[in-house]
């Protein structure tokens, strides 16, 4: 049972406001170690510098989008096993299918509540303590 307090989570979104909002929601469910990146490229930098337990990434970003990031993560020797949750808008089923094929572990529809976020994380990583 992973402890929320020790999980290291990377939030990737090009919008600062969305990143902050996600951070606040993560903090509500007890996660304290939160890294941020504003696109896939920056996320890869972070992911290669330190071990992460979870990546939550938006899809639509300049430079490198969420799917490209997912593929880069899955192809990266150090980071390829890090669980990956894709943030998406409503009704984007096609994208979610693609993400599942590329190795995403779950998805999250914006906007989301703390409960949903927790539920999705637990589906991926097991019950949080």
């Amino acid at each position: 049972m992973p402890s929320a307090a020790v999980l290291k989570v990377l939030v990737v979104d090009d919008q600062n406001s969305v990143r902050q909002m996600t951070r606040m929601t993560l903090e509500q469910i007890g996660i304290r170690h939160i890294h941020e990146a504003e696109n896939g490229r920056a996320a890869m930098d972070t992911a290669s510098l330190q071990p992460l337990d979870l990546i939550i990434s938006d899809f639509n970003m300049p430079e490198m989008d969420g799917l490209a990031l997912l593929r880069a993560v899955r192809g990266h020797p150090a980071a390829r096993k890090v669980p990956f949750i894709l943030l998406t808008g409503r009704g984007d089923r096609e994208l979610v299918v693609k993400a599942a094929q590329a190795g995403a572990n779950n998805y999250l529809i914006k906007p989301f509540t703390a409960d949903i976020l927790k539920q999705k994380i637990e589906q991926v990583m097991g019950k949080l303590s």
Partner: protein
Amino acid sequence: MSSLDQLKQTFFDECSEALQQIELGLTDIRDDAGSEDTINAVFRSVHSIKGGAGIFGFEDLVKFAHVFETVLDGMRSGTLAATPDIVDTLLAANDVLSDLVSMSRSGKAIPPDFGSESHAALEQILQANSNGEPADDDSPAPADFDGLDFVPVRVDNFESEDENTEREYKIVFRPKPDLLKNANEPLYILRELRKLGTLDLVVETDRLPPLAELEVDRPYLGWVGTLRTSSRREQIDEIFEFVIGDCELEITTLSAEPDFSTAAPASEIEVAPSPQPPAIALPPLAAAEAAPPLASAAPQAAPRLAATAAEPRPTASKPAAASATTTRVELEKIDRVVNMVGELVIAQAMLGQVVHSLPEDVSSRLLQVLEEVVHHTRELKDSVMSMRAQQVNAVFQRMPRLVRELATKTGKKVRLEMAGENTEVDRSIIERLADPLTHIIRNSIDHGIEAPADRIAAGKPEEGTIRLSAEHRGSRIVIEIRDDGAGINSERVLQKARERGLVSADATLNEDEINNLIFLPGFSTAEKISDISGRGVGMDVVRRNIQDVGGRISLKSERGRGMTIQLALPLTLAVMDGMVIRVASETYVMPMSAIVECLRPPASEIHNLIGTPGMLRLRGNLVPLVQLCELLDLSPPAVPSDERVVIITDAGEGSSFGIVVDELCGHQQVVVKSIEESYGSVPGIAGATILGNGRVAFILDVEKLSDLANSQNGSVGISRFANGDARAVGFVNGTHRVVPPQQAEAAF
């Protein structure tokens, strides 16, 4: 402010940036200057607004952005053509979106049918495209997509072994001369190697001879580095099979276990080339690509070039995302620093005075240190001012919408071109630029650009063009608004001016002088008052606005060809370089930017023409002189006339005049303090400053001084200088007030 409110602010700031992106992108697409990236960027921006709006609960915004985004998605995926009509609809939709954002920001209730027209137009595009099928009705999609095969990951199974374990090899590869002669190419070998996994090489350039000794067919470079791959050793050996005898080659196994620390550089190569590659340790790919083919002229000299040319990023067409290295700071905080720098400049000037009054043996050492301090203060000032600087884009970006709306209203066709949007200027100037620009552009569309039929009749393209540009010239920013309309109808202007008694009936004016009459207060030639250009509180207000910030406005018109208005504005209002001067017993500061040269001419070079305060013969030209002590009503100086100094100043538009003063006291940075609050606007005085001795000195407004001089000489408000340039019109009766500095000190 709660943290949620703060986040909302951040979101709205992001929206402003996104809206601007959308506007620019759509304009590019309309002008056929867009690429696939452009439409993607536009889509992304709308999508971001929608996403954020959803999170912060702005449902109207979400709804509208959703249809907008759906149309863009169609364009992006190629199912929808970007016809001019559709792009126009999208531009209009962006205006609605922008209004929705500002209404959401201000917390105003959004009228229920707001933007419904635009919404319907977007829906219609979608419906037409889907051949009558109902368009996507933003009904909420299911919150879950069932049946998707997601992999749950348990945190405790991270350590599981993988049979395809990667290994890391150390590679040393130094081609010998025969390698190239045997028709092998190192570049191809490195490329093959790269296909196996993650290659991290550093090029060795130490054997590279001077260019003159370089032999074209000899390889000088070598490569050392690591290859991380899951391929077998044999596969690596295969690559070097044909060159094995022609090179120094070393392949050694380093590690079998991937670990995070060594992975870092590898990933940089894959996804993030460092922005500034070091000079010698080249980014491996760049170095490899740079190793040129056999036939090129100076094959092995290329790596240094490669070192400066960073590897192109995948989305090179888009300007590098600045957000990665920027931070938002409250303006107040920066203003506080600006004020502190101002105080520092004053304190430093005072220190300078004290040091000068000390005995020389002490002061000389202190002066050295002080000089250093002065140097640093200047740099500090420059960097703080650059922080306050903003791109003129902040104002320019409002103009496309204005042009669009006005064009629709007047039934004219107008295109707006913009250049130099990235030019930076202090934000206090930016703030005061919006109104004048709006006014000028309104005028241009209302009175300048002709109706399409008239344009065709005049042999011009149906669509009129307004070009808005900005650039730095010296310590000023010059903004130019140029249109290709009808220009100013000078007969009509002159007639109106005479009717209104602005010029006497017998005055002979040249075309430029007539055109400048439009800057006079209350002047308007609009044959019908339209709701666009207002009621003749026109160009004089514009001119005053510009002059209030120490700028000047000039105008050129060519009948039937169009007109150009130029605004020249100072880059900053807070701290400037000044020349401290003395006239009679008073001390003044003159902006260095206005000074062309200072000289002490012999009396024989000064010609006293009747009705003028003198002309100076300078390198064959006659330059009009202004006696500062007379102009400012000071007691006549005790200094003999041939010891007085003439400061030649640039009055803009190539004309110059000389200001006669008693003494130059030195060059100094001064902090500009406004006197307007206490004394109103005083012609000829741009502000005040505190000198090193703690006294207040006025800062002279050079351009207005020349106006003052003209009006005092009894000219009718228009005078011509020796070189034939018409001076701007508009100074009616020299009703200036000059307050002695002693009295003004109370104001600080």
